[in-house]
Subunit: 220 residues, 2 copies
Amino acid sequence: MPIGLSREELDRIDDVVAARRTVKRGTTLFRNGEKFTSLFAIRTGFFKTCVASEDGRDQVTGFQMAGEVIGLDGIVNDHHTCDAVALEDAEVCVMPFDRIEELSREVNALQRHVHKIMSREIVREHGVMLLLGSMRAEERLATFLLNLVQRLHARGFSQSELILRMTREEIGSFLGLKLETVSRTFSKFVEEGIVEVKQRHVRILNTDMLRDIVNPKPCN
Amino acid sequence: MPIGLSREELDRIDDVVAARRTVKRGTTLFRNGEKFTSLFAIRTGFFKTCVASEDGRDQVTGFQMAGEVIGLDGIVNDHHTCDAVALEDAEVCVMPFDRIEELSREVNALQRHVHKIMSREIVREHGVMLLLGSMRAEERLATFLLNLVQRLHARGFSQSELILRMTREEIGSFLGLKLETVSRTFSKFVEEGIVEVKQRHVRILNTDMLRDIVNPKPCN
DNA sequence: CGTAATGTTGAGCGCATTCAAGCCGGGTGG
DNA sequence: CCACCCGGCTTGAATGCGCTCAACATTACG
């Protein structure tokens, strides 16, 4: 949350985000089709969001961690259009959207904040579209790992070590690859000495090589 | 714009959207890196938006037509992160974003409207991610055609006939395919009697077959 | 401890890509 | 008016990346 708010404004915002909810691993915070009432700010835990096509296929649209907001998809039709599933036990702030709208009419900083959160999500998805539309398997996985570790680092975790909270299949769904391809690509990175992988525990040995994969240098 | 507004509210909104700008075919409305000041509502014409990766590849993130709003990507960092290019001569409303924020504090319906526009864009992008992540070439193109014709129909154009304002390459970039694949897939649809294609003029002969391609029936 | 879920690896295949050649249509200048 | 050119489009042939199918290994969990 931004700074420079008065005591009274802070209290009112606190009031909006007062409600808590815990979500056990493997259960959904909300589902496609459910009535939309609130946005959720993740306090602890890790989520995936996914959309489904009419014929059963589904696509992971993102992985969310502490400090991130989910549920924005529900605003437009008053109903959610994707599922949010906890990949580990989680706790979220429940933020009733009508209260957010009400309060953001009075607190400019909050209004601005809400707009930025939504815009950030749009920009993030642009990046995913670029990944899905134009990258090869290795570039996708490298991009994914760098993005994850960067976000974890911003939260005080290691720059080089991370634990994947999702399966290979979920990674594959997000990256537009099959789980076997994800597994093979991990193996290739290991062979090349770029990472160490022990199941879901990943240690990045050479960040620069990962970056080179993401950003292929013209090889003249 | 929603209904049920007072005369005075309408006047104030009119004031915000008063400024116009014309954009010639092939020129940009805004570019990646430019300062963000305004959203743009398309009055006439047709745009593409595209993002570029560091190494020159680019990805069309969407095609926009009359009544749609572009520029939402700029809110989060006060700078645009994609290019908006007119694919035919166009006219847009320039809507200064600080004025929008100001007015949407006072006019609830406008606030709601802005939120919905942003949420709609997020949901649209989810659909594109599903397409890019899990569909085959024919499904992608069929989905694309159905989406385009549906949006055109909502604007009073034919349900079965359309003129593509973009090149095969731009379609390919949007769909995560090469232009040759787009061309071949069009040819296949023609062979199967699903569409007629004469350059950029497309006539849909059998909407149901297109829908079947998008939604493959289990063939037991 | 046994079973199911998850992950790895191999072999073969197929779809989309790459590379290349040629076509079509629109615009320009002789 | 026609010859020419150029960008956009189509089509063919060969290649390769990621997929499918399958077997097996490993881990999590009741």
